[in-house]
Chain length 335, copies 2
């Protein structure tokens, strides 16, 4: 597979997005986070998304001239209107806002409405940890999970993430969707013509299935852990939509359609300043004590550790990109 440096890949992705109508800052910020995901080994949430984003910019499902701005300010909490542009720029603004508010008031909240896909939440919230702050993140996505006892998908995959800074080490990063597996994992087996394991999802009539097509065509994904994951998906849905005014997951059209209505999905970020509560010394002592207890056993890995190792390797060796995707990105960049 061809390899590009992080700078080369970022420039390529950014140029492709700009050629499809994204503003300079939208293209640059989107490319930065997509490449960060690739560097961390999250290829399903990396530059592989650029062709879809470009299609949305061209069809108007995402607005290239959008300017995200704060539409409501309540002290420690604020609401940001993404103006139906791509999701990364408004989410970065939201994290900056929430972090500033956490530094002033101990905690800060920023909700984002009228937003688009924001990729993996981990790379978005990690910069906050570099400032010694704890962050929690939530996002919706087009409907994937059925309510417990139901057959029709209502809740999104509804990812949840958290980042905890460490004094002299990369932060701990928890970053997961509330489905048992991602759609990407199912598509992978679909492409290979293979069945999927039991317990991943249901067909459109609510029956368990091992046929990837039956899940992807009107079926639904199981929430992680059954009832409990389903309840958490409902909570994320309301945090991201009811507080912000974003459109509910089941009212959104699929992310994979090139044409359609703007996505208008919701994200929410909570940032907390340890210095405002028990203080940084106690915070750091507890984090290190937990890490030490975890690492006393062989086989235990810290959350985020693998991503940080891969990111270091990518900074040194570049990122491998499949030749067909690379050709597609180059064609898009030529406009």
């Amino acid at each position: 597979m061809p390899r590009l440096t992080i700078t080369e890949l970022t420039t390529l992705a950014s140029t492709a997005l700009a050629a499809s109508g994204a503003s300079e800052s939208m293209a640059r910020i989107t490319a930065k986070y997509l490449v960060a995901a690739d560097a961390q080994g999250l290829a399903t949430h990396g530059v592989a998304r650029v062709p879809t984003y470009c299609a949305h910019l061209k069809s108007g499902r995402a607005k290239g001239t959008a300017v995200a701005h704060v539409i409501r300010d309540s002290g420690a909490a604020c609401l940001i209107d993404a103006d139906t542009g791509l999701g990364f720029e408004p989410c970065e603004l939201a994290l900056t806002q929430a972090a500033q508010r956490a530094q002033s008031y101990g905690i800060g909240f920023a909700g984002v409405t009228n937003s688009h896909h924001c990729g993996a939440l981990g790379p978005l919230i990690e910069p906050v940890a570099a400032r010694g702050l704890v962050a929690l993140a939530f996002s919706t996505a087009p409907a994937a999970i059925s309510p417990w006892g139901g057959k029709r998908p209502i809740y999104g995959t509804n990812p949840v993430a958290a980042v905890f800074p460490r004094r002299a080490a990369p932060p701990l990063v928890v970053d997961l969707s509330l489905t048992q597996v991602t759609r990407g994992q199912i598509m992978l087996l679909q492409n290979e013509g293979k069945p999927i394991p039991e317990g991943w999802g249901m067909d459109k009539d609510g029956n368990p299935t091992t046929d990837p097509n039956a899940i992807l065509n009107g079926g639904s994904l199981h929430a992680v852990g059954g009832l409990k994951g389903t309840m958490l998906a409902l909570a994320v849905e309301l945090i991201c939509c009811a507080l912000t005014g974003a459109v509910l997951s089941h009212q959104l059209e699929s992310l994979h359609l090139a044409e359609g209505t703007p996505l208008r999905l919701g994200q929410a970020f909570i940032v907390i300043a340890p210095a405002s509560l028990a203080g940084n010394d106690i915070y750091n002592e507890r984090v290190e004590a937990l890490v030490e207890a975890m690492l006393q056993e062989e086989g235990v890995r810290l959350p985020g550790e693998r991503r940080h190792r891969l990111a270091q390797e990518a900074a040194r060796d570049g990122i491998a990109i499949g030749a067909p995707l690379l050709a597609q990105l180059r064609a898009l960049a030529r406009g």
Copy 2:
């Protein structure tokens, strides 16, 4: 089984706690929430806990004369020292504080340190919804869950709860522990001499087991959903302990020991005011649209619905209490 009215049972529980050394307010507030849990059908988190709490009050694991107070105030965030008293009074104070701050600043955070068991989180956070506020709650508990890849329990059962008010209906309540099942469910099968299903936990050597004794004696409980639930348990651990200064779950002695060191566990509450973000009208419209979509399918229940129905029945018919527990409470109340 004997039946007591809610008032009778609350008075009995409160008298038992006071006779064991709890202050008037500690006894009253603890009894109120325990009986609320019984009324909602959560008997494992109801007055069945009173004998252990009384033992702790007598042995000094919980301090009957404790006065919870705010030790750090940062505007929207505050930290409360429970002074090693029972957990309900400081948690009620924390929710009052977080709600006031949410009304002033849009969001409020209150952490609790040096705390004791706080029972089910649902009944604690529901009153906040009556004021039109959204609340999230987190608690630790003595270690139950092993890190992914490990054998030794490090994280507590680490419950998570959320409450979402509705305009003209009881709130939606999500309230769950991050274990696949509760210890109580395992103890029930232990008492009946039955094996447990596979997938509930591991023995002390990290092997899967169907023997309840092997889990309860030094083994660990599986997190809900495997790796993902384990990651969430880690996040709850740090939110409740690193931010507040509470003792980490694996450094706590079991809740079930009558004698031992004070528990010093941690809780955290986040309250958000919908009025400060998209506004109450949009909030209510989104909540009702989601509820309507969920209820279009037969077999779907709203989270909290069963609890509210049972609480109404309990208000009318009283609460059934096993004769041995009732005798025990009466003996404790006589002092």
